[in-house]
Symmetry: D2
Subunit: 358 residues, 4 copies
């Protein structure tokens, strides 16, 4: 008889291998994602490890809405390699309810991060009105001493601790990205090391040029207050904005060295912002080329950054983790339309690179 | 002025209608999901509104890791209709850091919920060892008075406030689902009104029978401590477990009335647990049938609950929001394999229902 | 003992309910999608049924690569309501291998369509060089008589059969969309009833204006030769371009009447092209509004067409089957940026509509 | 000139770099998937290349419904490395309409495959009733000579051409998988080299043992007649069943050598069937392990085959392209629940392998 019906509930117990499954308890092992991490594929080059980082994060200890441990868990699950906890110094709306000094949120996050092998960097956010605005101090060891009236003194306190200073969201809150005299002076004194070209849900094209002009590192961070999943979505290929750090080793020390050496790129919404040499190397490491015949090649984008290229009047799309079959590009530059090396400059890869591998 | 409408292509500036887009600031409007809610489609029947609820949620005010507002935001975004904030009375590991009495988390969540039109119910969790275990008291107005030594007294205090009492996760922490004498007495006295047949990532088949035996409501709740996205995933069709409440109106009052009337079903991992009459009506409202010819029908499942049915030795799958073309089922019962009306009983829909609509 | 290992392979047979599952054969019922159809949600209005159609399809009987039955299966699975088989008259590269007159492909498709209750319309494509170009004749009953030297005579033959004449892809193959004198004459004589504003992977903005100017129906069709899945993708929310037909009944007769009455809209890549009155009604039927408070509303897009709206300098996105929480729009028109009523005109919905429902 | 590069914003015309975008024509470059291939990640080992193949495919030239070129296009897009065209000898329902000898479908497919660098193997299906049933002959050069009355003679004709003989779907059509005397003889004579353990939507557990018992290769093929997308779905992580071939080089010659050497595994519905040594090496190449501390490791599954493992009574899931954080497995075997080395035997990996890398 072809179809036999078994009710399959043997007295007391049906047990799937290694999973409790009986009348009193059934585990839904396959549902639980708590210990699952998505791997984001962005290649290394030149002996550097490409680390995926978020250097601007808030918790309940300032004006965020999440316990510090959850920031580490979120980032680990999403596939990042490091975060900085950067609660505000001056703006702590929960402070009557959530007790703790200015180092507490980091300590809690750090302990959790150490337990799962995830890099957590101590930071804080100097939070003032324009013209100065907001700046993050990263790699500090004591935020308490930075709670002073004069923000320039706070910056100096941070620098005494060896901090890396990041100028946050220049375009907030008035939608104007202005480099004020105070910034000129800090830059001239070497007291600003980076600027957020992307923060949360907005970016500042003019800041792409400031990176070149002042020799500071481009950064892209979430400045997340609520949940990553709620604001950016989660899974299915979605990725928060992130700062790519090209480090000599996967450690806090490696990240610090790379930041001071300005070896970063900003990655957000399928766009890259950074120095031509870094973006070119990323692309060269991401696109594998296979010649099919005299006219046709296959280009495989092994990474999770999609690329758009124009050449000879044609538009080529290289989606993540896909291969495209295209005609061999013609003489002339290849412009990567999603890759910015300046406010109005896109990355050009010389045709020689292509021809050398065809 | 922050937002200015430009319809032209200005020199140096390209502005998409209604979105700032210039050299100083570009808004990534399409990225921001903060105000976006997924709609979960589960039909109404018999004049009841099918409300999607989670009656077991923790925040930083006990042993959860999220500010109360975020629980409301998560639930609204995921497509639920109501939640209860049910922080532990006795177990508050953050209490030296997070100040507030036992009503504080609810107050914060409620204020946020009122602001966005989302129903937030006050609750608390009596948290003891087995045999009693954990119970949630829902629709209370003051949890402080329940912080007493005798948990049975705590239950009575809750009942004085008109509370609905839900026996939580009978199978935790020892993987044994035992109905102890204390539960027998409380049930006999009408002091337990519901039991979680599913909690977090496990379910308790024997509890399906307790619902029938004792006339209590089946519930499915997350008992979430961390982030829904981290534990269950987010988007792409994933849904947290939830308690379906068949209410006369979409309000706290309507939910309360429905719970006391035992008009609930548990929904988790594609399974339903509940009274035969409710599950049958849900299915009848979910499956639309169209006759193609004498032998063939199309069955459209308009809901977000997938169904599996057997009839005449064949297995039929009705995925969410899809139509399947099948042969007309034969005489004999139609067994809904994912729908439980008892520990070992699946929902049977009499063939007469099908034949009446073919 | 908590975890018990059962090997669960009983002698000869383990059978899941209604599915063969034994040592000799296991059915993978859940894998088989052959009889599964995705439902595309686009609402009806004004007593019309919104039918989703593709009026330009090729098979192995001209220069397509798929047996006619597969075109019906593809379209049924993707959620369409009707297709026309429109193989070329003059261009049949497989004709030495695939025998059959000019009606054969339709006959094969029609038989299959009748078997599954799917509407298949007979058509053919008059295939000439510019200036005339290509035109589809729909609702014919005999394509053989149209195989004549003079294409204008072929058009007349089609009209004698009551055909509806659709001018195909005006911009192909030279990327110039030119309305030639021959088209002017045919339009003046009422011998062209529609134009494809979208064909395959390109659209022709100037043709939006021709619809208004000449009173012809806007159409969007795939002109598919290979596989829909290969060219457009499949599943996960992807949809082929389609012509929406607002018919009095879901039948070939209803579609024919609606086409001659010009009750169509073109839907492709998230854009709609059509008469203001139809697009407005589609939107009004798609967006459900719920007032939260004096400042806030929730807008639910129940359809599978995403909308983008600007008002008062702000951009609003209404993704498919989601709810968005927004501030109440201000006085002034609401411009639907993805909805075209002319080449340069987007749909404006008067503020009165909104205010009447708030 | 068809494609002109405009970098400026011309009056009336907005042109994206390298994409035509003006009033007469707008290209939807991003929509077109025709030249896009998904890459399936299954690692190599021991110097072999893991090739992903389908050795059982039909076209309009027998009882399939797709032109031969589309089979190559489908397979290339889905990420396979080779297919065999195996139309029936004896069953050609379209033969009055589709002309061509028994080699025609292969020739058409091969020409297309050569053009895009995809391996297409000539095959045919000897199609008889049970007891013999159906068998594919692969690597033939002339199917015409195999159209003889005696199927055993047909097999011999194939063998004369150096063919590899695959016994198809032993469980079809009567749901009984019977190894008949005729099969015993053919196996003894070395005239059957492989058996399909999976065909289309069903698999035959007893055939897992036949592979071991008779030293024949396990195969998994679609036997596709209609569209892969329609039957199996497409994109979003879905994959057709496939035969993995561990070849010394990526060529027809390499595949042939590997098949005769029995270096295959069957992959379908997340299950693998094959020799213990091959499956173990696949897994060892797929799972990367990183020690977090004395108790915890991270396991990254770099492949597109999900694994399920039990050890010490616990169930571990290793989803595709994800990392899971787990406790270090305990002493005792690690059973891979989705990997079959025999009908009732799952793959066991000795604990020594794990301990050596921890």
């Amino acid at each position: 008889m072809k179809r036999v019906l078994f009710s399959l509930l043997l007295a007391g117990s049906v047990v799937a291998q290694g999973q409790i499954r009986n009348d009193e308890l059934v585990e839904l092992t396959h549902v639980n994602q708590a210990n699952v991490r998505t791997e984001i594929s962005i290649p290394d080059f030149d002996g550097y490890e490409t680390l995926k980082c978020d250097f601007h994060i808030h918790t309940v200890f300032s004006d965020g809405n999440v316990w510090p441990t959850m920031r580490v868990a979120e980032a680990w699950q999403e596939g990042l390699d490091a975060i900085a906890i950067t609660d505000h110094i001056e703006y702590r709306p929960h402070k009557k309810v959530v007790l703790g000094d200015l180092n507490e949120s980091f300590k809690i996050a750090k302990k959790y991060g150490d337990g799962i092998g995830f890099i957590v960097i101590q930071g804080t956010e100097i939070t003032r009105s324009k013209p100065l605005g907001h700046l993050n101090a990263l790699f500090i060891n004591d935020a308490n001493v930075m709670d002073v009236e004069d923000p320039l003194a706070a910056i100096d306190k941070a620098l005494e601790q060896g901090a890396f200073i990041q100028w946050n969201h220049p375009g907030w809150p008035d939608d104007k990205s202005t480099l004020y005299p105070v910034h000129e002076e800090l830059l001239k004194a070497g007291k600003i090391h980076a600027v957020e070209v992307l923060n949360y849900m907005e970016y500042y094209p003019v800041a792409f040029d400031w990176c070149n002009q002042y020799g500071i590192a481009p950064m892209a961070n979430t400045d997340i207050h609520d949940l990553i999943s709620g604001d950016y979505g989660w899974g299915g290929g979605k990725m928060r904005p992130m700062t790519l750090v090209f480090a000599t080793e996967r450690s806090e020390k490696g990240i610090k060295e790379a930041l001071f050496a300005r070896r970063t790129a900003a990655l957000f919404d399928g766009k890259l912002v950074g120095k031509s040499e870094y973006l070119m190397k990323l692309i060269q490491a991401s696109l594998r080329i296979r010649r099919i015949n005299d006219k046709t090649i296959e280009v495989t984008n092994i990474s999770d950054i999609p690329y758009e290229m124009t050449n000879g009047g044609k538009l080529y799309l290289f989606p993540c983790r896909k291969t495209v079959r295209i005609g061999i590009p013609k003489e002339g530059a290849l412009v990567f339309e999603n890759c910015f090396v300046g406010m109005k400059q896109k990355l050009n890869i010389p045709f020689e690179w292509w021809s050398s591998i065809l």
